[in-house]
Symmetry: C2
Subunit: 403 residues, 2 copies
């Protein structure tokens, strides 16, 4: 018998309870012994819940119960969740989480702590919701020197961009629709300003390249400044605008990591990823390009990933999963300024002036453009180079084109 405690009965926590119940027979069979939900910790009361008899409010009951083998942390944030995770690991209990903020900010320390106490800390659900990505990255792609990760990592922003592209909604209208549909929070900044995507690319980079990458090391730009004019110009050259988290290994082992909206050509498989779906493309020196696609959020998909980690642990509690990475360092992450690419520019000037500045460029057109506005794609250059050429001009938009 394997006993589980769930911390936090929100969307993901209640989904975990539901999956453990609905697919209970199948899970017991896969683990080869019963997997039982013993406690649910939540400060609120749920008298009408089918799990009512499992609720407790005092974490020390879980911490001190030797029967609890696996703790599922779905509280979120990096305060109470950090405290409980630390205490659970110190008590020798393995912890499974969907908490990207905690893993991105304290992952190295918590993995070390797990190892010291003969426990494991697993977090498949922290990136890409239900999409299997972290385990494939560390096991199925283990024969590769990984070189690059490119991900649509946030479903809310991808929904907003999809609605801008497909329905012609403005950013504000699409955001409101996302909020009305429950895809965006009342305070949407963690999503639309790119912080959520930033945490996820940090976790992916750490697993792929072996050292902790901290969110504050990763320049992050969201999608608030994207306009319907940009969407129309992108469409005119067969491109879609997508918010990407990127991590690129450099020859010297350093990592170029950043989050920013990009123009993607329609042939790129990531360009077809719509609505709240996520996708992560990985490049390795043997495998070439692979892509993982699915629902990046949502109650049951995320719970599916959490319970997969629970099943993995339950099959063999003490076996080390070796999902370790090394400590971070202040000079590990290098600026995306070194990265040459084509650029999309929307600017108030004349095409002849733009040609003087950029030489060979690809002009773009849209219906209803105001007088004086032009847009074009540049040749390959770095961000400092493109910004220098544009200095003194009134730049409406500047976005990198994904090669």
């Amino acid at each position: 018998m394997i006993n589980i405690a769930i911390l936090g009965f929100g969307t993901v926590g209640s989904g975990v309870a539901e999956v453990l119940t609905t697919n209970g027979a199948l899970i017991d069979q896969r683990v080869n012994q019963p997997v039982s939900l013993k406690y649910i910790l939540d400060l609120r009361d749920f008298p009408d819940s089918p799990y009512a008899q499992h609720f407790i409010k005092d974490f020390s009951i879980i911490e001190n119960d030797p029967e609890v083998d696996i703790v599922v942390e779905t509280i979120g944030g990096a305060t109470v969740a950090l405290d409980y995770t630390t205490r659970a690991l110190k008590a020798g209990k393995s912890v499974v989480t969907s908490n990207k903020e905690l893993v991105a900010t304290h992952g190295y320390d918590l993995l070390q702590l797990a190892r010291e106490h003969g426990a494991n800390y697993l977090f498949e659900a922290s990136v890409g919701g239900g999409i299997p990505i972290l385990r494939p990255l560390t096991s199925c792609l283990a024969a590769n020197q990984l070189t690059q990760i490119t991900g649509i990592l946030n479903g809310t922003t991808n929904y907003i961009l999809t609605r801008m592209i497909r329905a012609g909604l403005t950013f504000e209208q699409a955001l409101k629709e996302a909020q009305d549909n429950g895809y965006a929070e009342r305070d949407p900044s963690a999503d639309v300003d790119g912080h959520d995507a930033c945490r996820k690319i940090c976790i992916l980079a750490a697993l792929a390249f072996g050292q902790h990458v901290y969110p504050e090391q990763v320049p992050t730009q969201g999608i608030r400044q994207i306009t319907l004019a940009d969407v129309a110009y992108a469409d005119s050259c067969g491109c879609k605008i997508k918010l990407l988290g990127r991590a690129i290994r450099q020859e010297d082992g350093k990592i170029c990591a950043f989050v920013a909206p990009h123009l993607l050509y329609g042939e790129n498989p990531l360009a077809g990823v719509e609505d709240v779906f996520n996708a992560i493309a990985v490049n390795g020196n043997a495998i070439g390009d692979v892509m993982f696609y699915g629902q990046g959020a949502g109650k049951l998909p995320t719970a599916s990933a959490v319970v997969a980690d629970v099943i993995d642990l339950a099959k063999d509690l003490k076996h080390s999963r070796r999902n370790q990475w090394g400590p971070g360092s202040p000079d590990l992450v290098v600026s995306s300024d070194i990265l040459s690419s084509r650029w999309y520019v929307r600017v108030n000037t004349t095409l002849s002036r733009a040609r003087e500045l950029f030489g060979d460029l690809q002009p773009l057109a849209r219906g209803g453009a105001p007088a004086g506005e032009i847009a074009f794609l540049t040749g390959p250059m770095t961000e400092p180079q493109v910004r220098e050429k544009l200095s003194g001009l009134s730049v409406g938009s500047l976005l990198r084109v994904l090669d």
Copy 2:
């Protein structure tokens, strides 16, 4: 020190040697001890190969060498490969393979044999080349009752269909181009008649649903009969033609499995999978839809998957991977005749006659259609129903539409 023997120095076998060499330091680090290539078995001589000192011609040397821990079988076929795999497993050596024919026809017996002898039999590379799919199916999606698998499982046919769609080549022209580019064999029947895709859907179905599915149980139709007329009609309704392997779990636990060309709407992520790429969509009751995408063949991508299995084994040789499934049975697979869907029909008759037969239908048009030819999409019905309505007519093409 973990010692490896490679059986067969063809495309995949030589790729395995190359990956073990190129990424050797990284692999040793991930396994935590040296992984060493000890033997390569091949009947041919390779005096100029960098691995020349490893070549042998007598399998019994490998079979009887207690230092050999892992045997990599990349011979292909189900004769010599079956003999050597059986003997290696009986000698307690774990076997890794990319041989889909052997796994699809003898997988159950070989998995049993492995278990009896404390060894493992792994075959990630047998489906989807380098794409991580089998391990995610059994571990990352373990919390789900899987319901459906839909795959573009053969790169050669996908290349041919892509060239028909994009470049307007006939099937014969596209096949010749594929052969000239090394994407298709001189005898292309294993690919273009669907047998390769059939073996792969058998392996996927067995892992997903837990019982061996034999290739002869799976009705298989290839792409020889697809014409440019079909491509044009499909395009007129926003569809692409793709060869799909499908396995659908029925309520009673039986499996509806088949291989056939389908019309896919452009919004379906599988519709955007082009050239030699493969993709596999999986549906589970918690996770919803996920998709895995990448190079389904090729020397290094396939070798990447083989070496990932080698690394997994080398980390812990005797630990059972539990990638077992149960025996097959004659009545496990049910006919796709039960499956209702829309149909694409190209037929020589009049639209008014078609409307008499089908009631509500969606007429399709193409430039240059000969007099008397019509095409349309039907409403949802089974194959016996659509065939009965068409009986007596001269049917040019009948393809299922993927919902």
